[in-house]
């Protein structure tokens, strides 16, 4: 084939142009190619591992999300509805980029809440406005790393201050993925957990730069700061960092628990809330309602009792009658039933005929001459030819199919001749089956 196959241009549909992010094993997720293309800066990887660590810690002691949520529900005597998982743990970054508007807006709102609270804390607790002073805290690291990665977001997130500047609102940017919380509040960025190849992983236990992973020596605890300086951290500094992180995670967990307890009971079950089951809203009304129910119950019980009593009486009476009396009574009952049935059938038939007559009269009384005649004929036609109920047919029988006497015949003479011959019995032919009928047979002389 010399020519390339022609490309089909498909008709645009509602979902044209929608990019679906799918997961293919072994392939980096879309939008993060820039992070893997060049060698990552130390700060980024460090920040990433810290983020993963924090996320793990944030979901309280490594237990699974749902169970801990349940545990918190149990410990706190509140009736939180089914959405407990959503309110607490749903925004911890494990989101899929496929869920577009709904999940994002919800996460946005929750993140805003969280951020506001955290930011209030931050503002109250540490007055320092520069991130470098908090270089030990993981949050500062994250913030700093975010600054590096997205310089345009710096204005939105001014250091440690909880300034609610105008958000960049980059929720739709591919790069941030689901970290759509660039909305101006000082937010701890929640990023989608991205796959870090083993060669580039940097765990808590053995902190070393990715480049040094190939080296077998682990004694060199080299950590590079965000600023690019290589700091030689001794064991104590490392321990300090760990301690700081641990404290941070414990603090966050405690805060989550406190917030869960103090949060207003968002009963996500709106249907249930429509039906209010609080007692003593209106004691008199409730008492009256109960009284009514109770009276109705008493009445019902009494009536049932009466029915049973009547039956018992009847049985008693019958037991004391003789056979002849019973027979007479039964005959009477059956006879009455049959009569009633016949009477009912008669009534129905009368109703039907009266209805027919009424309709006919109604039609005939139409003043317009033409209409009257036409309606009359149409009525008769409808009566003859229309089908009514399911089992009815137009077939009226052979005698009705006889068209010989249907109307004035063209051959009047032959008809008259046939009439004369009809008067004599036994002159019936196939053409005139009606001839020699009973009425014709009876001659005046015979009466």
């Amino acid at each position: 084939m010399s020519r390339a196959p022609e490309k089909k241009v498909s008709k645009p549909v509602a979902t044209s142009g929608v990019k679906v992010h799918r997961y293919f094993p072994g392939k980096a997720p879309e939008g993060h190619m820039d992070e893997f293309s060049e060698s990552e800066s130390e700060a980024e990887t460090e920040a990433k591992t810290e983020r993963t660590v924090q996320l793990a810690a944030g979901t309280s002691f490594g237990a699974s999300t749902k169970l801990t949520a349940a545990a918190e529900v149990l410990s706190a005597p509140t009736r939180i509805g089914a959405g407990i998982g959503n309110t607490q743990q749903g925004n911890e970054g494990f989101s899929d980029s496929d869920a577009e508007s709904d999940g994002e807006t919800r996460r946005l709102m929750q993140a805003r809440l969280l951020a506001r609270q955290r930011a209030n804390e931050e503002a109250s607790s540490d007055s320092g406005s520069d991130s470098d002073s908090d270089s030990d805290t993981a949050r500062a690291r994250l913030r700093a790393s975010m600054q590096i990665r997205k310089p345009e977001g710096i204005s939105a997130r001014a250091g440690a201050t909880a300034s609610s500047g105008s958000g960049s609102g980059s929720g739709s940017s591919e790069e941030s993925g689901s970290s759509s919380e660039d909305d101006g509040y000082a937010v701890r960025p929640m990023l989608k957990p991205m796959f870090v190849p083993k060669s580039q992983r940097q765990t808590q236990q053995n902190p070393q730069s990715p480049q040094q992973a190939q080296q077998p020596s682990r004694a060199a605890a080299m950590l590079e700061d965000e600023n690019g300086e290589a700091r030689d951290l001794g064991a104590e500094a490392l321990a300090q960092m760990k301690e700081a992180r641990r404290e941070e995670s414990v603090r966050m967990a405690a805060e989550e628990a406190r917030r869960a307890r103090e949060q207003p009971e968002i009963d996500n079950d709106e249907h249930a809330n429509l039906v209010d089951d609080t007692d003593d809203v209106d004691p008199e009304a409730e008492f009256e309602a109960w009284k009514l129910r109770e009276l109705l119950r008493i009445k019902r019980d009494k009536e049932e009792g009466e029915v049973v009593d009547l039956e018992e009486q009847e049985r008693e009476r019958r037991r004391n009658m003789s056979e002849a009396e019973k027979y007479a009574e039964d005959i009477e009952i059956v006879r009455r039933q049959r009569e009633e049935k016949i009477e009912r059938a008669r009534e129905l038939r009368m109703e039907y005929l009266e209805e027919q007559d009424a309709m006919r009269l109604d039609v005939a009384q139409d003043n317009t001459e033409v209409n009257a005649i036409m309606s009359q004929q149409m009525f008769e036609y409808a009566m003859i030819n229309a089908e009514g109920c399911r089992s009815h047919t137009k077939w009226k029988g052979h005698s009705k199919e006889d068209t010989s006497r249907a109307g004035p015949s063209l051959w009047e003479e032959s008809r008259r001749a046939a009439q004369r011959s009809d008067a004599r019995p036994g002159t019936g032919s196939a053409r005139n089956p009606r001839s020699g009928g009973r009425e014709q047979q009876r001659r005046p002389a015979d009466d």
């Binding site: 009736r79 249930a272 409730e286 129910r293 019980d301 049932e304």
Partner: protein, 208 residues
């Protein structure tokens, strides 16, 4: 292992107490999330805690026939088979109405007819509101006395087929039960003097 009746249990109505709930609904309960998450390895005390957190009564609802938490706890009680004293405590307490409803259901399922009538009819005078989840998942308001009425007269309450109990009338005829005196009649006979006594005594036959 998780779904066996407790070892010390006796048969109820000639069968494993769990069989009082139909196989279909029982399986739905076993498969439900609430059962697996909350009702595993629960004791009677645990059931009490859960019952204190109930928000509705009801059977299985929705297309999936999802069981309510109430129903799961009923099955749990059937598994555990608490003794009579415990059930009485659950019924007689005044703080948690859903716990009371739960214990009433259990009582109705497991006890003899005479005891059922004696115990349940006391609660005809409890008119606290209950939320009931009906077949399509929506909620309906009902009252405790209506629940008691259903338990005594209906054949199926909250997706559970109730064991047959003898007609109250027959028990009265035999003499095991006195005719039912409604609290309203009692009030009438106490308070009104002119027609009270006559109506009170004549209405003794009001019980069915």
């Amino acid at each position: 292992m998780a779904n066996r009746t407790v070892n010390t249990a006796t048969t109820i109505h000639g069968t494993n107490p769990q069989n009082l709930i139909d196989k279909e609904y029982r399986q739905r309960i076993y498969d439900s999330l609430y059962w697996k998450e909350h009702c595993f390895a629960l004791t009677v005390t645990g059931v009490m805690d859960k019952a204190a957190n109930l928000t509705c009564i009801g059977g299985c609802f929705g297309d999936n026939k999802r069981p309510t938490e109430f129903m799961c706890l009923v099955l749990k009680l059937l598994q555990l088979q608490p003794d009579r004293q415990m059930v009485d405590v659950l019924i007689d307490q005044n703080d948690f109405k859903y716990m009371r409803a739960l214990a009433l259901m259990y009582f109705r399922l497991t006890e003899r007819p005479v005891d059922v009538y004696t115990k349940l009819e006391l609660l005809y005078s409890d008119y606290s509101k209950l939320r009931r989840r009906i077949y399509d998942g929506t909620y309906v308001l009902m009252h405790m006395d209506e629940l008691v009425d259903d338990l005594l007269r209906e054949q199926r309450v909250c997706s559970i087929a109730l064991p047959r109990i003898t007609d109250r009338r027959k028990l009265e005829d035999v003499g095991e039960l006195p005719p039912r005196i409604s609290p309203l009649d009692q009030n009438d006979s106490d308070s009104d003097s002119e027609s009270g006594s006559s109506s009170g005594s004549d209405n003794d036959e009001s019980g069915s």
